[in-house]
């Protein structure tokens, strides 16, 4: 047999398709990958350590910068953990507003994924179409809380802003529009033979593997495990509403695409239901001026678009946490990458890496 040379390829930290500053040290034989070693930490800002020196309100803007495509969920994670530790009551309207923003943020996040994933596969236009629809959501958020990405919207005990005049109608319009618009996406992407060829049958892992690697979110559901914290460890007021947990069958990247498209649909359904029941009311609970969290510790999990976003707070009774730990789903999901890439073609690398849906701000913390 012809002897071919094994080559060490450094992919990243500056590379168009590593979604930020991930570095992959790849051993390739021709175009076949023998070994992958992901190197993380180029975007590490020490959020957890910084949080030990910040009051609970001050931590919220920092969480915006973890998973910067779904900052609402991050806001909620830390706010929810604090509320649970303090045993605070949150007014109904505030919870509804939180759910609307979180679900819209999930839609926006999945749209970013669909767009960038297709961009990784070489198609340009879906990226821009997705970003146009995401733009509508960002504009809605901009109207609500004055920022497009770093929302800093939620507060311990409620939310910062009530919905402005006519905002809820705009959300409803968007939901109706988006439910129709999804058909266009399916026309453009789902039926494309090249897309099917690129994604079918790659990046498959079993249920056992997924569980042993502690995968969560759509990366776990794609193997057929219907695990969704919104239903199984219900937080906020999700238990009031009806929605399905889509699961995958084959577990390949194509399945992940369909799963995430279905999750967009489900999120829109939740928003629609919330809009039907939302009433006037206070948006802030009875919260003391200076937040002093009682001694103790708490762990809460929130279903972020990428998986289980956990927040573990240890408090020693001061106004600052003694220790704060985020279970950042992207970081955990990334662990399975070396296993998946072994023996794959190098052009599958991008397809598989993109399928995991990592956000480097979250991976590096």
């Amino acid at each position: 047999m012809l002897r071919t040379e094994e080559m060490l390829l450094n992919m990243g930290p500056q590379h168009p398709s590593t979604h930020g500053v991930l570095r992959l040290v790849i051993k390739i034989d021709g175009e076949i990958i023998r070994e992958v070693d992901p190197v993380v930490g180029y975007l590490h800002r020490g959020t957890e350590k910084l949080a030990e020196d910040l009051t609970y309100t001050q931590i919220i803007p920092y969480t915006d910068r973890l998973d910067y495509v779904s900052a609402m969920t991050n806001n909620y994670a830390v706010v929810h953990a604090t509320e649970k530790l303090m045993g605070l009551e949150v007014p109904e309207r505030a919870e509804y507003l939180r759910m609307i923003t979180m679900e819209l943020n999930r839609v926006a996040s999945h749209l970013v994924w669909v767009g960038t994933y297709l961009l990784d596969l070489g198609a340009m236009s879906p990226f821009l179409y997705c970003f146009q629809d995401r733009e509508t959501i960002l504009n809605l958020f901009n109207e609500l809380c004055g920022a497009r990405l770093t929302y800093n919207y939620m507060r311990v005990g409620g939310v910062k802003w009530d919905a402005p005049e006519g905002w809820l109608q705009k959300v409803e319009e968007f939901v109706l529009y988006m439910q129709k618009e999804l058909a266009t996406y399916h026309d453009l992407i789902s039926g494309n033979d090249i897309f099917l060829q690129r994604t079918r049958g790659i990046g498959i892992y079993t249920k056992e593997q997924a569980l042993s690697y502690a995968l969560s979110g759509s990366n776990l559901r794609v193997t057929g495990v219907p695990w969704d914290l919104r239903q199984h460890q219900s937080y906020s007021l999700y238990h009031q509403f009806q929605f399905e947990i889509p699961t995958g069958e084959t577990g390949d990247v194509l399945d992940k695409y369909h799963l995430r498209m279905q999750e967009i649909e489900e999120s829109l359904k939740i928003v629609k239901q919330v809009l039907d029941v939302i009433k006037e009311g206070p948006i802030m609970g009875k919260v003391p001026k200076v937040l002093r969290v009682p001694e103790g510790e708490v762990y809460t999990g929130v279903e972020s678009p990428r998986g289980e976003l956990g927040c573990h707070i240890v408090s020693n009774g001061k106004n600052k946490p003694w220790r704060l730990k985020f279970r950042r789903p992207s970081f955990y999901n990334l662990q399975i990458l070396p296993e998946l890439l072994k023996g794959e073609n190098i052009s599958n690398l991008v397809a598989i890496l993109g399928g995991i849906d990592i956000i480097l701000g979250e991976v590096d913390g």
């Binding site: 198609a123 090249i194 060829q197 190098i346 052009s347």
Partner: protein
């Protein structure tokens, strides 16, 4: 005649540069429109000077030769890649009278000369001493060699019908009906194979930026990079011209509208082909490298062989034979 002999190529060169300048602008505009944005519109009215500004930028850039590169080959490669791109234009008949070299084997000449470019790409890729560019060059060579075969075989049907390899004869043979109708299968194969030959989406693996950053020209800057770009767009020009000549009846008018000059008809059909290239680019993701090879050898090659058989059979059927 003599004057034309010497000045002709220079005029063609200038026309070509003009075409490349505005083809790039047109491509960016079309892709912009498809993506609901206006495309380049800042430099000059309607963005007309955008490409000129880009080229000026490329020319003013520092000319970098990587330290570990093979200097001689690194400098030679863009020239090897570009010269054949220009040389193939000699055989394209733009109208009855506008053609530079009337070869009896024009079609073969086109295909043969265009394969030299691969040497330029391959040496450039190797000489840059970069892993990404080497991978890109390898893919490029493998892809272009593989797709040349269905490209040639798809045209065999037309050659059988006209009995000539001369592009002039081929155009004149389409007076009754364009070859896109009787040779539709061949047209599809030709279109796909030409997309692959041009390294355009969905076959732009050699420069797949999501995997190989920029493929074979990763280390090239400034003027040398411009040469590779130029070669690529000249091939777009040439391939669109060839498609027009082979399948769309060249300069021949449609519906007997003979008062419109042939060159305009040619340009019209030509622009249509160029537009569809850009349109496809804006829509499709790219194929995977192994699927690409399988597609060439397992789908396109048998289909083009089938097309040859079908043409041969139809030639013998009394009613149909007038078309073949």
């Amino acid at each position: 005649m003599d004057l034309f002999f010497y000045l002709g190529p220079i005029i063609l060169m200038l026309l070509l540069l003009g075409f490349v300048t505005y083809a790039i602008l047109f491509e960016r505009k079309v892709i912009g429109w498809i993506q609901n944005r206006p495309g380049p519109n800042q430099v000059g009215p309607w963005g007309l000077f955008q490409t000129i500004a880009d080229v000026a930028k490329l020319l003013l850039k520092e000319d970098i030769v990587p330290g570990k590169a093979d200097r001689a080959l690194f400098k030679l490669a863009p020239i090897i890649a570009f010269v054949p791109a220009f040389a193939i234009l000699a055989v394209i008949p733009f109208t009855e009278s506008w053609q530079f070299g009337d070869f009896a084997v024009g079609l073969l000449y086109y295909i043969a000369i265009s394969s030299i470019t691969i040497i330029g790409i391959l040496t450039g890729a190797w000489a840059s001493n970069n892993k990404y560019s080497l991978l890109g060059g390898m893919r490029s060579a493998a892809q272009m060699i593989s797709y040349e075969i269905p490209l040639v075989l798809s045209v065999v049907g037309i050659v059988m019908t006209t009995g000539s390899l001369d592009l002039n004869d081929i155009v004149l043979a389409q007076k009754k009906v364009w070859f896109i109708v009787p040779q539709f299968l061949a047209f599809l194969i030709f279109l796909i194979a030409s997309l692959a030959e041009l390294n355009r989406t969905p076959f732009d693996l050699p420069e797949a930026e999501s995997e190989l950053v920029a493929g074979y020209h990763v280390e090239y800057t400034g003027f040398r990079f411009a040469f590779f770009m130029l070669a690529e767009y000249v091939y777009v020009f040439a391939m669109a011209s060839l498609t027009t000549c082979l399948f769309l009846g060249g300069w021949l008018p449609l519906f007997g509208l003979t008062m419109i000059p042939g060159i305009l008809w040619f340009l019209l059909k030509f622009s249509l082909v160029v537009f569809s290239l850009f349109w496809i680019r804006a829509t499709m993701p790219r194929l995977r490298v192994d699927q690409l090879m399988q597609f060439a050898w397992k789908v396109l090659l048998p289909l083009s062989l089938l097309n040859i058989f079908l043409t041969a059979i139809f030639k013998e059927i009394p009613v149909l034979s007038s078309f073949y």
